[in-house]
């Protein structure tokens, strides 16, 4: 068990290191002087020289990487050029809205998608099944922000039951927080529901052909018990895997959703930073999101071995 966990943890290290190198090189491999790019078009020669010195750009590139990565490991991602604050401080201020939005979305999506997928699998080929599959193809095709504006138009403007935009901190007022998250999380959940429901359906259909399902049926168990205890439990691994892999989609969606709903989270910060050419912030956010993505999937991988004793690599 311990060797397995250790192996998995070690296997994530090269991936994380490559991510760091890619994010680092993104700025360094641009044509031209990165210091001049960072300083912007209006900067004077002294300002450019100061930035070059501050970032260690006058040193060999390998050394530059280790300086940058070493500081990053200590949580120091430099200072934002636009906000004139440490990047780590900026990020920690913006993390709550993003965490709220993603967690609520994941819970919502799983609660909607898994039952839908199971139902569709049970009645494969039926009208419900075809509707669900149709919905999932549409869910993959409509841009997140179009869904967002559609929901705002219907629920906030036409029938005026939910707030149009904005975010309230959870500490201030729980009800306000929840009501401001309804539309954003529904918007973000659409593509995620499409993904999870599709995988649940496929995975449950496959399990339903197994011998032990026939045995369970022969034993006289009710449909519900068979579906939940025997089918869903055994179909769980691909479903959980796709929930983990779908987080990449979710992160892309967060950037868009936060812009549509004016939520002051990391996604909005990304767009603001790109528009302001605030490279330290962009680098730090990409790094943070990617690390979170890799680590969540690593945890899911590890969780399998706890929940499914058959898995021993």
């Amino acid at each position: 068990m311990f060797t397995f966990i250790a192996q998995r943890l070690i296997s994530a290290v090269p991936v994380l290191a490559t991510v760091a190198v890619v994010v680092f090189l993104m700025l360094r491999l641009t044509p031209g002087d990165p210091a001049a790019v960072i300083a912007g078009e209006t900067a004077t020669a002294e300002q450019v020289a100061e930035i070059r010195n501050k970032l260690g750009l006058d040193q060999p590139i390998v050394q530059q990487f280790f300086i940058w990565a070493g500081r990053g490991l200590k949580g120091d991602f430099g200072e934002s050029f636009f906000f004139k604050k440490p990047v780590s401080e900026l990020i920690s201020q913006r993390i709550e809205p993003t965490l709220s939005l993603t967690l609520v979305t994941i819970v919502l999506a799983v609660l909607i998608a898994v039952p839908l997928g199971v139902l569709a699998a049970q009645h494969a080929g039926s009208l419900l099944d075809r509707c669900l599959m149709g919905f999932s193809v549409i869910g993959f095709s409509v841009p997140v922000f179009v869904i967002g504006y559609l929901l705002i138009y219907i629920f906030a403007i036409k029938i005026n039951v939910l707030p149009v935009q904005g975010y309230r901190r959870i500490g201030e007022n729980f009800g306000d927080w929840a009501i401001h998250l309804v539309l954003p999380s529904l918007t973000l959940a659409v593509i995620y529901v499409a993904l999870i429901a599709r995988m649940t359906r496929a995975s449950v259909i496959e399990v339903l052909t197994e011998d032990y399902i026939r045995t369970a049926r022969a034993k006289g168990l009710t449909r519900r018990v068979i579906l939940i205890r025997h089918a869903l439990k055994n179909a769980a691994i691909p479903i959980v895997t796709v929930i983990g892999l779908g987080i990449a989609l979710l992160i892309g969606g967060v950037v868009v959703t936060e812009s549509v709903y004016n939520i002051p989270g990391l996604g909005r910060l990304t767009v603001d930073a790109v528009l302001a050419r605030d490279y330290p912030v962009i680098q730090a956010i990409i790094l943070l999101f990617s690390f979170a993505y890799v680590l969540i999937n690593l945890l899911i991988d590890l969780a399998y071995s706890f929940f499914d004793p058959r898995i021993r690599y």
Binding site: V255, I282, I286, F289
Partner: protein, 311 residues
Amino acid sequence: MTIEAEHERAVARLAVPEARPTQVARRLLHHRSVVIGGALVLLMVAIAILAPFLGTVDPKAIDPAYRNRAPGTEQVITLPDGTRATQTFWMGTDSLGRDVYSRVIYGARVSLIVGITVALISSVVGLVIGLIAGYLRWVDVVIMRVMDGLMAIPGILLAIGLVAVWGAGLFTVILAIVVPEIPRVVRLVRSIVLTIREEPYVEAAISVGTPVPLILVRHVMPNTFAPMIVQATFVCASAILIEAILSFLGVGIPTDIPTWGNIMAEGRQLFRVYPHTILFPGVFVAVTVLAVNMLGDGLRDALDPRMAKSI
């Protein structure tokens, strides 16, 4: 990553040629999703090519007197020869008085160019890297580590970051979308190469001393075509979607070029009062991406009926 492995194995099975071209063609023409998706894609292509002849006006022409008009508004214009005519804004006008219908029609060009170019470039680059990684074992480790690293960065985020560094423009946007797509193509090609390289005919080619590049091009590469076509279709759909998202966020194609994303970005401010500037381009993006996705689903089913039953 069991799903990925599962998917790769399933797609790799596509590599086994088992149907003659005529059979595939017949299967394609009888597949509803291919017919509907294909017809819609052709329609969009026709719209993009024929844009100037579809009753459009200059999509960049500004008319301050006709700002934010509702769909269906009519305007009396005086033609160069002195006669008068009415022009109808079928989709209304935006906040600069530009005709949304013309902008949406011309916007089809950019979306399709981005979708097709991204699919082509990422397929070619992914094919070359995948062939090398799958066949030459000693570079495989290095290449796949890099690909794993690239795949660990959420695609839209990587594209946004690259545009930020390279600057906004049609070509930089295309490249920025290509980079996150490449690893997916590489993994697909590599997984096929890994199964094909064990085939007797490849061993035979090695034994008669065929040089490696020739083995790859003549014996291995043709096996990747069927799954690559399917993959390229999905890449095309996702590229159109990502371009719209990037432009919408204001970090994509420069705002003076009419693209669906740009039209919607422009309509954001006044969305509550004038939803039409987001609605119409939104429908076009959704229908186009849906059509390409349906085509991809259909192609996958038709090229390998065994896969139709799984996902």
